[in-house]
Symmetry: C2
Subunit: 308 residues, 2 copies
């Protein structure tokens, strides 16, 4: 079977750090082109925009959209209409409602649409999901605290409308939460801290629950200096399970159950190849819907201006 010829659209930090190495390690898929206004890759066909790539007749089968979420919908639609499979970086778009027409477009075109949630491919996620399926849960606490200046240096789009602010990282926690819990969850209250000069929150506190009243608390901060925290703790009838380091590690009380090097994007590309071969799509909107609900329901406070 000849490999899937993939174009990356948007050659920024996430494409260079994660996508390109993962594609190189994945059987069945190969990087064939780049569409990026400001950057190119030695030895790979280059186009300034996706439209130019699609108009060129360059032989590609699929595109990975690594552009900011505000522009992905139009790109995904154009790619699907041109008969390409589409992989969406997280979050899959700037709104929940724009995804419905894309799902329909993928079905109409007979192509794969994959809305990725990279944290779901962290090594401890499936193990903790299996453990939680057999336990009584008492409470869940999410702490997702990182330094935006370290992880998103100069990325102004994150604080633009649709950029999600602190929810850009925190949606990773919500993507894990919605994968590992046995029942769907919903937001019951939210407090959002908006910098005076920005259109997206820089910190937030959420309360969530499931239909059985499981209390879930999330503390999110984008200004954490010193140690960075990406932890989900689940208190169960058989002790405390702590998913740490963004899902790379799992502890049960004092004992280490999982501690592996992360390989999230390799998992993403293996799944994308599998989806294409099976003629399937994978679009779960639950994490983005929770963020939209947090904005809808959230009590807003204004905090001091933020500059990178």
């Amino acid at each position: 079977m000849s490999p899937i010829r993939l174009a990356i659209v948007g050659l920024g930090k996430i494409a260079r750090d994660q996508h390109i190495p993962a594609i190189a390690r994945t059987e069945g898929i190969a990087l064939a082109a780049i569409a990026s206004r400001n950057a190119a890759l030695e030895g790979v066909a280059h186009f300034a925009t996706l439209d130019e790539l699609l108009a060129s007749g360059e032989a590609i089968d699929a595109v990975a959209l690594c552009t900011p979420p505000q522009v992905r919908r139009a790109q995904a639609q154009a790619a699907l209409e041109a008969g390409k499979h589409v992989l969406l970086e997280k979050p899959p778009g700037a709104t929940v409602s724009e995804l419905g027409p894309l799902i329909a477009a993928a079905q109409a075109a007979g192509r794969t649409l994959f809305a990725t949630w990279h944290s779901r491919f962290a090594p401890a996620v499936e193990p903790v999901r299996a453990l939680l399926a057999g336990r009584t849960l008492r409470s869940v606490t999410i702490e997702w605290k990182e330094d935006v200046r370290v992880w998103h240096p100069g990325q102004e789009w994150i604080f633009e409308p649709g950029g999600l602010g602190v929810f850009d990282p925190a949606i990773n926690a919500l993507s894990i939460l919605t994968r590992i819990l046995p029942r769907p969850v919903f937001v019951t209250s939210a407090r959002l801290a908006f910098p005076a000069n920005r259109d997206a929150p820089i910190a937030a506190e959420l309360d969530l629950a499931d239909a059985q009243g499981l209390p879930i608390r999330a503390e999110l901060d984008f200004l954490q200096t010193g140690p960075q925290t990406w932890d989900i703790r689940v208190d169960t009838d058989e002790g405390l399970l702590t998913l740490s380091s963004g899902g790379a590690k799992l502890f049960h009380e004092g004992a280490t159950l999982v501690d592996e090097k992360e390989a999230e994007y390799a998992g993403i590309y293996r799944h994308f190849v599998d989806l294409i071969r099976r003629g399937a799509s994978d679009v779960d909107l639950a994490p983005l819907a929770l963020v939209a609900d947090a904005f809808l329901l959230g009590r807003r406070t204004q905090v001091e201006s933020f500059e990178y």
Copy 2:
């Protein structure tokens, strides 16, 4: 067939103005009880809360939840678990994500869940839907401008988190829009004006589109004095269609196509009786998802404080 015995939960303005007269006019359903902390109705069994009603053993088959959206989810869950059919006033909840578990609960209980959108039952809605199905659409303009002090006097919950602010009326326009257009729509940008002392917007401007790029513009205002405006104008290849007075009237250029007295809640209760008899549910989250997206994507401005 004996009539469905219905309890109204939350005997406020909408219950008195609309639900009670509509129930009286609808065959197959009868008002059997009221659960309301502050109000009662002569000659109808009364309980302070839904929980007391459910615990009492009073013979009811269904509940209509006319309480504010922030408390409806827990009430709907309790009623479904007690084997009652549930009618939800609009909006169906305070968040999109809380509806998924309710849909599942209704299925598990074999009961009807009906998320009402009363404006969809306005007399000109189905006629304009039929007309638009056969035309090429050029643009849509929504103007939804009313005086909150007249229509929601003293209703503080509207400006609480989850109360939607100006989207409490404007979601009616979105419920019509999503019914009459041939394709699903999504929000592409939003500007939200929050009073300095409130947690929900008092005015907003939205841009929406469908997958074919149809431009849709919505202007929403909660401080409109003088003439009140609830209009949706659709420019088509065969002229301008104007849906006016919240859906009661339809004009094509100068000509009147529909001008009828509204009977929205009679339509709601006929549909509820029909759903129960067929063992079906009707829950369309599209209007609420569009509002959540507007909050998610919206650029916020602060405007002067609002007091009733």
